[in-house]
Structure formats: C-alpha cells, structure tokens
C-alpha cells in the first residue's frame, strides 16, 4: 500500500460519515423546503408574513445587542485580567469561563433563578421584579453564555500583544487612554471581530435558553420549532432553518475574512 492510498483510507470514514449524515440531510432539507404547496415560492412567503419577519427582526436585535454588550464587558474584563497579576485572579478567571460547558437550558434556568417568579431579584426587591420571561431575560441569558466565549478569545489575543508596543507608545508621550485607543484596541480588533461574530451567530441560533424561558417574544429558533412540532409545517420550518443557517454561516464567513482566519467555532 502506498502512502497516498493510506492517506485516502484515513479520510474514508470521515467522507462516508459526512456524506451520509451531513451532505445528504442538508440536501434533503433544501428539497423539503420546496416540497410544500408554495414550492420555491415559500422563501417569498417567508419574507411577506409579518410573523416571520418580526421574529427575524427580534432575533437580529437581541443578538446584536448581546454581541455589543458581551464585547464591551468581556474586552474590559479580558484586558484587565490579561494585564494584571493579583491574588484571586485565577479564581475570577475560572468563574468567568465556567458557563462554557453549560447548555442553553441550564443557562435559561440560571436566568429563572435570577429573575423568575421565585428568583433572587423578585425576593430582594420590594417591587416584585420578574424579568426572566421577557426580552430582557432572553438578552441576559444570551449574555450569560456569550461572556466566557468572547473573554477567552480576547484574552488569548491580549496576551499575544508585544508589551514593547505599549512601551513604545508611552515613550512617545502617549497617556494611558491613548495607549488603549491607539495600540491595544487596534491590536485586539481581529479577535474582537472573531469573538463578536461567534457571539452573534450563537445567539441567533440559540434554542435551549429561549425554550426554557418560554419567552413571550418569538425568536427564530422557537418559530422553527413550533412550525415543525405544532403546526407540522415542514416546508416552512425547513425554509426558516435554511435562512437562519445562511445568516449565521455568512456572518462567521465575513468575520473570518475581516479578521484573517481567527474565527473558529460557533459553539
């Protein structure tokens, strides 16, 4: 057996698996989106129905807000933790990366514990504040799982910045605020683009959190779920899935071309 044959043999299981369980199902998904009464016109229908459009708009809005806030919080915290050494730093870092392995459902439960009817905020505030099931609750849930992902990417980039860059700016007379704007943030830009794209795509496709919170707003994944299970409208569920997948995939693709290949996973 030659080396080339062996290489092909090594690749064979992967090829078979992804053909059977990725390529063919995706083709089937595309075909079934057109299998309804409307045919391919379903994509036009999707854009005409206010229910789908408003779901899309709300999903985009929440995801964009989460991306902005997660970037702000995680960049601040990430820069601080990457540039300072103090006692307790390791503990703070573990707390901030803890939710990495939490599935969306658990994150939803965390938000219920914070802002649900039996939640902490409701217990300690006199005004009986319940926000878990609102758009704000959903926003907090998405923020909960976005902070660790963004933080890790930003910190990895912050630790790679040549300390001499900052020293050079200071030797030329730059005060700390200028160092931040002229040196640190430009150096972090690719990582922030990458992390922001991941946060955005993850929030767009997040299902578990919305499912647990049983939110009163319609986000796209919940609409797809109800179309499929309750209305048995397979064609529309497929079409919406494809639209959602295209949005998240292209956001990651654009971000990668902007950041030079740093975008890896959507999680």
């Amino acid at each position: 057996m030659t080396a080339r044959h062996f290489g092909t043999l090594c690749l064979l299981p992967l090829l078979i698996f992804s053909l059977a369980f990725l390529a063919l199902p995706l083709v089937r998904l595309v075909l079934s989106s057109a299998a309804g009464e409307a045919g391919w016109g379903i994509y036009l229908q999707m854009l005409q129905k206010p229910r789908y459009l408003s779901a899309l708009a709300q999903t985009l809005a929440v995801s964009a807000a989460v991306t902005v806030v997660a970037l702000a919080v995680s960049t601040t915290a990430g820069l601080y933790l990457a540039r300072n050494r103090f006692r307790g730093r390791a503990i703070l870092l573990s707390i901030l990366t803890l939710p990495l392995a939490f599935p969306g459902v658990v994150v939803g439960f965390m938000i219920i514990l914070l802002g649900g009817r039996q939640g902490l905020v409701n217990q300690i505030t006199p005004g009986h504040l319940v926000f878990a099931y609102s758009t704000f609750g959903l926003f907090l849930g998405y923020l909960y799982f976005s902070i660790p992902r963004v933080l890790l990417t930003v910190m990895a980039a912050a630790e790679k910045i040549d300390p001499a860059l900052e020293e050079a700016a200071r030797s030329l007379g730059a005060p700390p605020s200028r160092v931040l704007w002229d040196v640190l943030l430009p150096a972090l830009r690719p990582a922030m683009v990458a992390a922001g794209a991941i946060a955005f795509a993850t929030a767009m496709g997040a299902f578990g959190t919305a499912f647990t919170l049983a939110t009163d707003i319609d986000v796209l994944p919940m609409v797809i779920y109800t179309e499929f299970t309750l209305s048995a409208n397979f064609a529309m569920a497929s079409a919406l899935s494809i639209a959602l997948g295209l949005v998240t995939w292209s956001v990651l693709l654009i971000a990668r071309s902007l950041s030079g290949g740093a975008v890896a996973s959507g999680g």
């Binding site: 040549d162 001499a164 020293e167 050079a168 700016a169 200071r170 030797s171 030329l172 007379g173």
Partner: protein, 339 residues
C-alpha cells in the same frame, strides 16, 4: 543634554539585584553603548533611564538640570528604539513617525513638515505611505529610528536595534546606523551584546557584567587596555597565558616568554592575531586543528599552556595537524592586567 545617574539600582521582587548601584555621566551628543552578555543588567539600566522601570529607592536620574527619577516614561521626553521595533501595525509609516508629535499636540502643519524632514533624513521617502507589514527588516529599523527621533527627544535609547536583522544585513546597517545617529546630534545610549557593534558605533563603551559596569572608556582604551580578565576576554577575545612568574619572564609549558619591564604582577593575556608563527620564537606548541578561513588560517594550539590557544596565521600555507611549531609574541602586544 547631559545624563547623570547617581546610585541607580534595581531589584525585581525579592530576587537578586538585577543592577547594582551605578553612577554614570553621559555628555551632550555622546554615543555610549552598554555592552555585555545577556542577563548582565544592560537592558535593565536602559529601561531605568527610559522610565519603563522604577529604580530602587535612593536613586537619582537627572536629564541636564531636571530630576526625572519619578517621572513616568511618557513625560520624560526620550526617544526609544525597541529590539522588536514595536512599530504600530495599524498605522502607516508616516503615521508611526508622526505619533510622538501628535502626542505633543503640535499644529498639523508643523507635524507634517517635521515628519517629512525626518523621512528625508532617514531616506524613507519611497516607503512613507506603506503599511508596516510591507517593509523589510532594514526598513523597519529605519522607521523605528525615525519615529523615536521625530519628536526631537532629549536622549535616544536603543535596545539591541540590530539584533532582529540577519547577519549580512546587520553588518551593512551598522555603519548606516552609526552615521544617522551622528547626524542626529543627540545623546544616545545603545544596548548591545555584540562587541563589534559597540566598538564601531560608540564614543564610549560601558562593559557590564553581573549587574555592574566593569569598565568604561573609548573603544580603543577598552581594546588595548582592559582592566579585568572579563573585559579582556569579552572585548576582543583575549586568551590568558597561564604560567609562573620567574626570572626571565613568564614560564609557560611551551617555553619562557620575556615580559616587558613595566609589566605588573597581574595576569597576562594575548589575542589570537598577536600569536605569530616564528621559526626563531621562544615558544613551542603542537598544532591541534587547522581551519582555513579565506583571508587567514585559524590554528588551534596545545602544549603552549594547559589550555588550548588560537593563533591567526596569514600565509599561503599552514602547518599540518600534529606538527610542532615555534611561536613568538611582540612584547607590546601583551596585555598585562592589574592584579
């Protein structure tokens, strides 16, 4: 701008002293290099002068009449060239060079004219609008120099500015750098571990070892009159001639070497280029190795002292390995160190 350091020392955390208390005075327009092996404290000293590190209590650093000991780097008004150059990748060559001037909030027109001036001085015109990533190593070095010089700093500090370049380029840029630094006319402190660089560029060299300045002087002084074994060996690779002092001179394993009358009781050193093959010489040695290096041969010699010595031999042919040779050393070439 004269620079005066008094009792400047540095200790990192609870570790050993990186720099022992040091006094140093550098005159206006002088180019001084700090020369020494890695870990000798030369970069620490440079960073203390820059204000990137804070000296241990009791130190005083004066730029001219001004005490800058407690000023942070951004207020010391120095120009620094970093080992990695630390050019801002998000700015063009022109913006990098103008950065220090922008920090001084000078009027735009003045910034522009001064940047152009420095660009012309450093012959960077063809690259002025390029991105940093589109420059070669040598060009980056010139941009780093131009950026540090543009705000007209009181003192220029250079941290191993040639070490990021490959050997051939380093040699070519060494003389160019020396010429540029002279044309700036500012006080320059230059850190290097390469003795050739230090000798070629500076007015005075401070040789450092283990957190201390061992000797300071002009390149010629250091080369011809080192005052300690370390300086003799580090500057110009002098080799010790270990033997007993008796009547007639220095008794080596390979013969008796006459010493000049004024030689003190300290150790005696010689450089490879001064150890000559001489059929009538007083010393005998055995040839261990012969390396042909183009302009000359490098001979490894044993049995002259108990350690292997080298001799440079200019000539059309060389002795063979295993041959016995006789050698001589001109009395004025001997380096007699104080005890």
């Amino acid at each position: 701008m004269t620079l005066t350091l008094t009792c400047v020392a540095k200790t990192y955390g609870s570790g050993p002293r990186a720099l022992h208390p040091t006094d140093l005075r550098i005159e206006t327009g002088e180019i001084l290099s700090l020369l020494g092996p890695s870990g000798c404290g030369k970069t620490t000293l440079l960073r203390l002068i820059a204000g990137l590190e804070e000296a241990d209590p009791g130190a005083e650093i004066r730029f001219g009449d001004e005490d800058v000991t407690h000023l942070p780097v951004e207020r010391r008004h120095i120009g620094m060239v970093f080992q990695s150059y630390a050019l801002f990748p998000n700015m063009s060559v022109r913006d990098n060079i103008g950065y220090g001037l922008r920090m001084q909030r000078l009027p735009r027109a003045e910034i522009r004219s001064r940047v152009e001036e420095v660009i012309a001085l450093c012959r960077l015109e063809p690259y002025a609008d390029r991105a940093i990533t589109a420059l070669s190593g040598g060009q980056r070095q010139r941009v780093a120099l131009a950026r540090a010089f543009a705000p007209r700093p009181r003192i220029m500090l250079l941290d191993e500015p040639l070490s990021a370049l490959d050997a051939a380029l380093r040699l070519a840029l060494r003389d160019e750098l020396a010429a540029l630094l002279r044309s700036f006319g500012t006080t320059v402190i230059f850190v290097t571990h390469d003795q050739d660089e230090a000798l070629a560029i500076s007015d005075r060299v401070a040789v450092m070892e283990a957190g201390q300045i061992r000797q300071i002087g002009t390149p010629e002084e250091l080369y011809r009159a080192p005052r300690s074994p370390f300086v003799a060996e580090f500057v110009g690779h002098a080799m010790p001639l270990a033997g007993a002092r008796r009547v007639g001179g220095l008794h080596l394993a390979g013969g008796i070497l006459p010493l000049p009358a004024e030689a003190g009781p300290g150790p005696v050193y010689v450089r490879a280029e001064d150890l000559r093959l001489d059929p009538h010489g007083p010393l005998r040695a055995c040839v261990d190795s012969v390396t042909f290096l183009g302009t000359h041969y490098r001979l490894g010699l044993s049995a002259l002292t108990d350690q292997r010595l080298y001799a440079l031999h200019h000539g059309q042919s060389a002795p063979r390995v295993g041959e016995a040779v006789t050698l001589s050393i001109a009395p004025e070439a001997l380096i007699c160190l104080p005890l």
